[in-house]
Amino acid sequence: MSTQPQYKDLEPDEAYAFKLEDLEEDEMILNMGPQHPSTHGVLRIELKTDGEIVKDAQPHIGYLHRNFEKHAENIDYQGIIPFTDRLDYVGSMGNSLSFAFVGEKLMGIEVNERVQSIRVLTAELQRIASHLLALGTYGLDIGAFTPFLHAFREREKVLDLFEWLCGARLLYNFNWIGGVSHDLPDQWTDRVKVFLDQFEPVIDELHNLLSYNKIFTKRTATIGIIPPELAIGYALTGPNLRGSGIKWDTRKEDPYCGYEKYAFDVPVGQGRFGPIGSCWDRYYVRVEEMRQSVRILRQAIEKLPTEGDVHETVPKRVKPKPGEVYARTEAPRGELGFYIVSDGGLIPMRVKARSPCFVAMSIFREIAKGEMIADMVAIIGSLDIVLGEIDR
């Protein structure tokens, strides 16, 4: 037998955070269990309810924990890139971009302009695909079936473009440390232009179908209010923070990959149908971000340099000097950052993934108190979580 501590058999009651003895009259403890069609993954929420009103809610995570950080201590740098894809499996161009960016900062590599433009193209297309999924499934959770199909039809076109580019639809292994894996095929940018011309009216179609629908606004614009100080205290980033009215976007504040060359706006929530920071504001910020992504894509295609080898600066072996670095990029769900500590070998000593959905889930308990059970689903959908990133 090893010298390790042994696990013990738990009583069924010990898996619950709320205790039966603390219940008042008429209260019950319910499980919105790990298998649920609307919790966007394996997420378990323990509710203490008084009839329909939720008095307290505790999210339990860890059902998808694959210990990415321990794996990263046994595999060399370029081999970790496929593992980073699987963190946020809906927006995986953003994950590998973030890791490759940190690796390049650690090694001191500067990539050429063509690689930077290709990275911006794929990152913004991925942002559009990820937001389409978020908005489509949000409508589906609330009960609107049609926008889901429209959103997924457009998303299929983006995934087809990615399949043409690098062979995979969802998990690409595309951004390497020092470059990208495949160069753009012939006429790929023409097809992207065709897609963009046809996609801009679809954003307005989405607004007509879902955004100003009275049922939708009544269900979402008065719940899940996150005041700005709470958002900053809980370190929210991305559309969750911008929905509360704070204009903070890493692409503007701390530009990377040549984002300073492109002109785009940063939409913030304005509290149109209710207080600022409601679920509707976060939803609206995501729709408008898609419009800005289209703008960036048009500029990136125009400014794409024709010369440049994408494998020019990919090192033969990634062996950084001892040191540590942290850098962040704007993933579709917030600021994704990696903190890498290197001891000079081929394998990193510690890789920490700073996940935006993890901090978004931690605020759930604060904003869910006092709402109804049906509003829980709306709040989770508006925070746009992906369990792969929360649990890593």
């Binding site: 090893s2 390790q4 995570i61 924990h65 942290y326 700073r354």
Partner: protein
Amino acid sequence: MSLDAAAVQQKVEAKFPGKITRAELEVKDPFFVIDKDAIVEVAKYLRDEPELAFEMLHCHSAVDYLGAKDQEDRIEVVLHLTSLKHRHWIVLKIELPRDNPKMHTLEGVWPTANWHEREAYDLFGIVFEGHSDSRRILLPEDWAGHPLRKDWEWPEEWHGIKVKPPEKFADRAQGGEEIGIGPFD
């Protein structure tokens, strides 16, 4: 007005003399090592002082330095702070001994530290005194051991499920051999 690391260090040294035990400003990410007993006051000062205004605890990690070259054995807690108002950010570190890593919780200063500290306890075994909810977060409630420590060993099984990977791969990885996956020429 955005301050650089040296200016931040001067302000902290002026208010809390001697609490910065070590500072490295020449590396890519300048950091200060703060004395672990003074961390809560220093954190509150960094958050509340109008010229510093580090309102956001951006990332909270723990690193285990057992067996690293040229480094003493310790566990470090690394905090990355961001100021939205002034657009600057710094790194703080707290060094803890490996056999009994304990420090006071930072939950009262930045509410986001709640879940991050639960994760550090879960994966490293660091005890945060005064934490309101000290439970495991990612691993099952009845898991034993703290996996991200460098001296952790695979258990044989957990509730009848075989946990330890087959002999060859696990021993090669833990024995220090570099298993390379990736675009080698």
